[in-house]
């Protein structure tokens, strides 16, 4: 999000708070979110793809909703509000497609949309598919699994360079563009990482029977809620819906809420646009790593990267939470002073908290339960090792399917396992430190410094896309070159 985007969102949120009739607030959020996902989508090299990707987000969301919806009285057709929602969304997509006929300066889409007739044909196809699903196969019990697998596969495809390049090549050929220029950058699907996590969460919760009933408008708004669309946090549907349902009762211009929201936005702006963007000038990257002449310099660049990443990400989160507060949706916190935590477990309980909660809930816990239930189950230590490694490698690969992110996941997975062993074996001794406050303070400070530097060293894998370069930087940082 640019400063202009954020400014417009803030003004829009204040106007919404001041003038939007209470019963229309939910609709306003959905309409704004649908428009925002087109508006925020960056321009892509493949013709019309920057229109089709947000459209595909809407279609996938609709299909997932069809899987998880719980119609009253097992009515196979869409209810009145869901039909209305579908109509509004189709109308919005067509209106956005009609931006094709507007001057570039006033378009809401990143580039010129495709022919409106093509868009209508695609929408008719989707509508037919929807009808088919709702009438014929609605009760098939495997839809949840199919949905999750399809999302994971789609995710892997767009995050794996050779696969994404292949897709780009096919799409380029389809629109008559040079296939030799195909690149993963062509498939810059804004927000899909977060959308996929939210959708998988709803499918899985539906499978286990804990997902609350959501109509299409609520579900769509939850999945693409615009303040959290590009960089999270990853809310839970059950929590989101509580705020969404309460929107009509919200006091529009509540001074406390507006002050809190505006405060968060200002703090986020400072973090992102003052601190993080300044640190970006000196933050570690591949070029700087190769140009750097000394170990000390490399450490400075790495520290800059560590703080830049924190201020950038937590700044965006503050802005998202702040706008959410203005709109009446209280998004979950994502950071809690992570660099001041005394151990790696505490770090991961305070860094990108909504993601770590997601993977704990949907990967770590099910995997550990599954291993524990095995007839010939491994030892507890082996189970912990497998679960920590799997969880952290998934988090790593979520950022991109590369060896560097794999190594980063391994780095943290092993550390979490190591800390678990350490904590188990030193629990009594640490408890005894309560009587020796100085030693306890020194232990805590030492833990904070050690954890911070461990995490910071781990960013080397994260910052440098090439594992060979990352390893050489690593060796240099440790003075082993």
């Amino acid at each position: 999000m640019t400063l202009l985007d954020i400014g417009i969102f803030c003004v829009g949120a204040l106007l919404y708070a001041a003038f939007c009739p209470p019963r229309w607030r939910g609709w306003a959020l959905m309409i704004a979110s649908v428009i925002a996902i087109y508006w925020l989508q960056p321009t892509l090299n493949i013709r019309f793809l920057d229109f089709w990707l947000p459209t595909l987000t809407l279609i996938i969301t609709l299909l997932c909703w069809l899987i998880v919806r719980q119609p009253e009285g097992h009515e196979p057709y869409l209810g009145r509000e869901d039909r209305l929602t579908s109509g509004v969304v189709i109308g919005l997509v067509l209106a956005l497609a009609a931006n094709r006929y507007l001057a570039p300066e006033v378009r809401l889409t990143p580039s010129r949309p495709p022919e409106i007739t093509t868009v209508i044909l695609v929408l008719i196809l989707i509508a037919a598919l929807t009808l088919l699903v709702t009438r014929r196969w609605r009760d098939w019990p495997r839809w949840n699994q199919v949905g999750i697998i399809a999302l994971v596969l789609l995710f892997v495809v767009i995050k794996t360079e050779p696969l994404a390049q292949g897709i780009s090549s096919i799409l380029r050929a389809g629109v008559g563009q040079d296939t030799s220029l195909a690149s993963i950058v062509d498939i810059g699907w804004l927000g899909f990482s977060y959308v996929a996590f939210r959708l998988i969460h709803t499918l899985r919760d539906h499978q286990t029977g804990i997902l609350p009933a959501l109509n299409l408008r609520e579900y769509l708004t939850y999945v693409i809620f615009f303040p959290a669309y590009t960089a999270g946090p990853i809310d839970r549907a059950g929590r989101f819906i509580v705020d969404d349902v309460a929107l009509p009762k919200l006091h529009g211009l509540d001074a406390a809420r507006i002050t809190e929201g505006a405060g968060r936005i200002v703090v986020g702006l400072c973090k992102k646009f003052v601190i993080a963007d300044s640190l970006a000038l000196i933050a570690l990257d591949a070029t700087k790593a190769e140009q750097s002449e000394s170990v000390l310099a490399l450490w400075v660049l790495l520290y800059a990267y560590a703080f830049r990443l924190f201020f950038d990400f937590s700044g965006y989160t503050d802005i998202a939470i702040g706008i959410g507060i203005l709109l009446g949706i209280r998004l979950p916190e994502n950071f809690d002073r992570p660099y001041l935590k005394p151990n790696i477990t505490a770090f991961w309980q305070s860094w990108h908290m909504t993601l770590t909660q997601w993977v704990r809930f949907y990967i770590f816990s099910p995997l550990s339960r599954s291993l524990l239930r095995r007839r010939q189950r491994p030892s507890n230590d082996v189970i912990m090792l497998i679960c920590h490694l799997t969880t952290m490698i998934v988090i790593g690969l979520w950022h991109g399917v590369t060896w560097a992110f794999f190594m980063w996941g391994m780095w943290h997975g092993l550390a979490l396992f190591g800390h678990k062993l350490w904590a188990d074996r030193t629990r009594a001794w640490v408890r005894g430190l309560g009587e020796r406050p100085r030693l306890k303070a020194a232990y805590t400070v030492g833990g904070v410094l050690l954890t911070f530097h461990f995490v910071t060293l781990g960013w080397v894998w994260f910052a440098l896309p090439d594992v060979g370069l990352a390893w050489s930087v690593f060796v240099r940082l440790l003075g082993l070159a």
Binding site: L253, L281, T287, L301, A304
Partner: protein, 380 residues
């Protein structure tokens, strides 16, 4: 979240009176700070604050650059420019301080700091008879204007040079372009002072020399200058880490060797006789006067001499032969008339040692020039 307690807790409930008070106080503070900034004009003071020469090494040349990979940027505050430069360090007892003033050739486009004229002279470690070591400082700046050079010379005199070497080429002499340099236009009071003090044949009322108005002196008006000052410090970290202060492209377009049958030079379409009034020799005279007792060596810097198509009409892309020849004759005559120490090195370097412009040299070419100038400095 506990860290947000200061904002979200402690007061029973925010109300609009509280919000109004915050907005009014913040607004007043903002206005007050802007007015104070406009009245006090603290930018020269802020410009002198720098991490360079303290936490970070001083820069080997003045800040200049627009490419992010240069780890450098163009700033117009003389205070900030010189504060980051290694010349701001105290002068050593055995140092013979030489300032090298000039254009992009002296600054060293495409050359690493150690390959510039200053870097090469320092590498040769010339020693004077009295035991002092020649220490050259690169005070070149990549714009073609003698007035810009004079502005830098004037400011640099506070760093107690023992000698000044001023390298120049015809392109910097044209009177019409004297005020074109951004550095000149953003340091209007200093330029006005130079025009008045030395009676320069330049229009002090020229539209390019408009003083900033009140709004332009506020924090809002000076936000770019403030941001550049901050970025200059941050780029200093990269300078310290990499020793890089300009963007080095993998390939560049070499200076042209073939030309159209064109006899024009800047605003002169056809050959004509040039006079001392048309070229800014008065700016050189001002420089000599400003230098006072400090010896100042004037050098007509080497140019690329083409041998391709129409090279009988032009020396290079910049200069038709008629204009450049006339300039050299005029310059030599002026130097002789006024007793200037002048060295004409126009053809001192072979053509294949020029890179992307008629005056930019390769590292090898610069080494040859450094040998010539270094010898002159020690014999001075």
């Amino acid at each position: 979240m506990s860290s947000w307690g200061w904002l979200t807790e402690g007061i029973a409930a925010y109300n609009w009176r509280f919000v109004a008070r915050v907005v009014v106080k913040a607004g007043l503070l903002f206005v007050l700070l802007n007015v104070a900034h406009a009245l006090l004009e603290p930018m020269p003071l802020i410009g002198r604050l720098t991490l360079h020469n303290h936490l970070l090494p001083g820069r080997a040349r003045l800040p200049y650059g627009e490419h992010p990979a240069a780890y450098n940027l163009s700033v117009d505050s003389l205070e900030a420019m010189f504060a980051t430069h290694e010349i701001s360090q105290p002068k050593a007892a055995d140092e013979f301080r030489v300032l090298l003033i000039g254009d992009s050739a002296t600054w060293g486009v495409l050359l690493r700091p150690e390959d510039t004229l200053a870097g090469q002279i320092n590498a040769m470690a010339y020693m004077l008879d009295d035991g002092r070591t020649v220490r050259a400082y690169n005070v070149g700046h990549p714009m073609l204007s003698l007035t810009k050079d004079l502005l830098l010379l004037d400011y640099a005199m506070q760093y107690t040079p023992d000698m000044i070497v001023w390298l120049m080429t015809l392109q910097s002499f044209e009177r019409g372009r004297q005020l074109d340099a951004a550095l000149v236009q953003r340091n209007v009071p200093q330029v006005h002072n130079l025009i008045v003090s030395y009676g320069l044949n330049l229009d002090a009322q020229d539209a390019r020399l408009s003083e900033p108005d009140f709004f332009e002196r506020t924090i809002i008006g000076q936000r770019r200058v403030l941001a550049d000052w901050l970025r200059l410090q941050l780029y200093g970290v990269m300078w310290a880490a990499t020793g890089i202060d300009q963007f080095y492209p993998e390939a560049y377009t070499p200076r042209a060797n073939d030309f159209e049958a064109d006899l024009s030079w800047l605003s002169y379409a056809l050959p004509q006789s040039l006079t001392t009034n048309e070229l800014a020799f008065d700016v050189i005279a001002a420089g000599l006067e400003r230098a006072g007792d400090v010896p100042l060596l004037l050098i007509n810097e080497p140019i690329f001499i083409a041998d391709g198509e129409n090279s009988e009409l032009r020396y290079n892309f910049w200069y038709p032969r008629w204009a450049y020849d006339a300039y050299r004759v005029l310059y030599a005559a002026q130097a002789e008339t006024y007793g200037w120490r002048y060295l004409d090195l126009w053809d001192a370097i072979a053509s294949d040692e020029f890179t992307d412009s008629p005056v930019h040299l390769t590292s090898q070419g610069m080494r040859q020039l450094a040998e010539i100038i270094g010898t002159v400095i020690t014999d001075f």
